[in-house]
Amino acid sequence: MAEHVTEPEDKQREAAPAGGVGIPDQGARFSRDGETEAEPRRPREAIFQLEKVVVSYGPKPAVRDVTFDVGRNEITALIGPSGCGKSTLIRCLNRMNDLIPGARVEGRVLYHGEDLYAPNVDAVEVRKRIGMVFQKPNPFPKSIYDNIAFGPRVLGRKQNLDETVERALTQAALWDEVKDRLKTNAFGMSGGQQQRLCIARCLAVNPDVILMDEPCSALDPISTGKIEDLMMELKREYSIVIVTHNMQQAARVSDKTAFFTVELASDDDHRTGRVVEFDDTEKIFTNPADSRTEAYVTGKVG
């Protein structure tokens, strides 16, 4: 593994932007209620750079032509119709696709400039730095405390566990709700709490990036709102990639948006997803360059 990956994450975050690609910040963002706020311009640093990525689960590609990058302290949304390969793609970014027999990744997935799929890169090391939150909350059948402590324990970071757990739960805006029942089983929490627990569990190992695969699809609107607020909070410290079916959600929280479409092969109904457009979220939703993007975001096609 290259040097920078083995450094402690905190140092890494403070270090000068090594893999920066120098795209200027747009200076204006959507906030939750639609107003814009000014931010100082600084060079944009890419955490991930994807170049012509193709993912296949067999002979034919599930998603192809994926080229975009993910900037530090940004929320990048992947949107598009069902079956367009958003989830397939996000699972490449922490090598979760390795678990699926026959899955193959071509093209380049660079993480801080380093090829994630280089032969000397260990998937376990990758996943220590790139956390993931899944579609359906998947707490472990253990106490709330043990859920959070699991990550630090398996990574051998056993000092100050209590502090780590409290910090992670506080960051996930869950501490006040659960501090009196840390020893109770996580299965007793509500769905929204379980999902925030999963986010806290991910934060406890101090990742660099958080991947979220439709984190709110199983949740009610109130829980969804809480998770979105949380994401806005978390992007100060982390970079986030989120797959979402909910376009309003992408518009509300994300800085950049990649729009995927799905193409149906004429001969055998094989579906292949591809990225049509990647740009600032504001532009995607107000003035998209591609007519397919426009049709999708205005609700003309599902």
Binding site: M96, R127, F134, N138, F140, F150, G151, F187, V205
Partner: protein, 296 residues
């Protein structure tokens, strides 16, 4: 009367008659099996209950029926069950973990192993007895007809049951738990050791107990490997000769009985004891399952 408009009323008489007929037939089948079982139990209790005393449990075999007891057989059974458990738990669980978590099912040899394990579960126990005799007692291992050989032989017999039960318990742990663990940077072994195994232990334990309760009643393989029938000592180690409850029962039943020396009630008492033991083991299995079963 139109199909939807009128009163709902009853189904046609012929349909109702069929329905009732089926119900009665099934009830009769149930009655027959439960009834026969009850009769058997009654017979055993009637003959054996009065002989199931502390004296019976703490005496060795004897030529005289009223002095004979089952102590050597009880201790023999305990010894071989311990050996059997010590063998099947690690081997069975490890096999199940390999087949569920590591094996690539697109490889023909893994599928061959799976099919064969299913088949081995239905091989007659006497075949395992012959295997035990040829492989454990004589042949390569030459252990002799001792506790270790008896326990291992029964272990081989019930190993497929343990593997199948453990695989089911492991498979019941949802993939999302493995993903959640791996996504935190845990290795595959850490994921198995700290998430999958703890969550499947109740199912595995239930399978092991049910396998042991099958092994405890096995007679044929033990006879084939040459377990003793009448011995006047308890096993003292893995290399001791032994007898076991089913063999003791078989011996007492097959002896010529007369009014002076009636061994039949002794057999009944030993059967009762064995059944109580089985009932206890199965209760523990059910309790374990209900108490610790994980609802996903």
């Amino acid at each position: 009367m139109s199909a939807h408009g009128g009163a709902i009323g009853k189904a046609p008489a012929s349909q109702r008659a069929k329905d009732t007929g089926f119900r009665l037939t099934m009830l009769a089948c149930l009655g027959l099996s439960v009834g026969l079982l009850a009769l058997l139990l009654y017979d055993v209790v009637k003959d054996g209950a009065s002989h199931l005393t502390m004296d019976f449990l703490t005496s060795f075999g004897s030529i005289s029926a009223d002095k004979a007891g089952a102590e050597a057989a009880i201790w023999g059974t305990i010894w071989i069950m311990v050996v059997c458990a010590a063998f099947i738990v690690p081997v069975g669980v490890a096999t199940a973990i390999y087949l569920e978590e590591y094996a690539d099912h697109s490889r023909w040899w893994n599928r061959l192993i799976e099919v064969n394990i299913q088949n081995l579960a239905s091989v007659p126990s006497i075949v395992y007895g012959i295997l035990g005799l040829a492989f454990l007692v004589r042949g390569p291992l030459s252990l002799g007809p001792v506790v270790l050989a008896g326990g291992l032989c029964l272990g081989l017999l019930v190993l497929p049951v343990v593997i199948i039960a453990s695989r089911e318990a492991i498979r019941a742990v949802p993939p999302s738990i493995r993903e959640g663990s791996l996504a935190l940077g845990a290795t595959q072994w850490q994921t198995i050791r700290r998430q999958v195994l703890p969550a499947s232990i109740p199912g595995i334990a239930t399978g092991v107990i049910l396998a042991l309760s099958r092994a405890i009643g096995e007679t044929a393989p033990l006879i084939v490997i040459g377990a003793a029938t009448v011995i006047a000592f308890n096993p003292e180690g893995l290399d001791s000769r032994f007898t076991a409850l089913p063999i003791q029962i078989f011996d007492w039943i097959s002896r010529a009985s007369n009014d002076v020396n009636n061994y039949k009630p002794l057999a009944a008492a030993a059967i009762l004891f064995l059944m109580i033991l089985l009932l206890l083991m199965n209760s523990v299995a059910i309790w374990l399952r209900n108490r610790y079963e994980q609802k996903w």
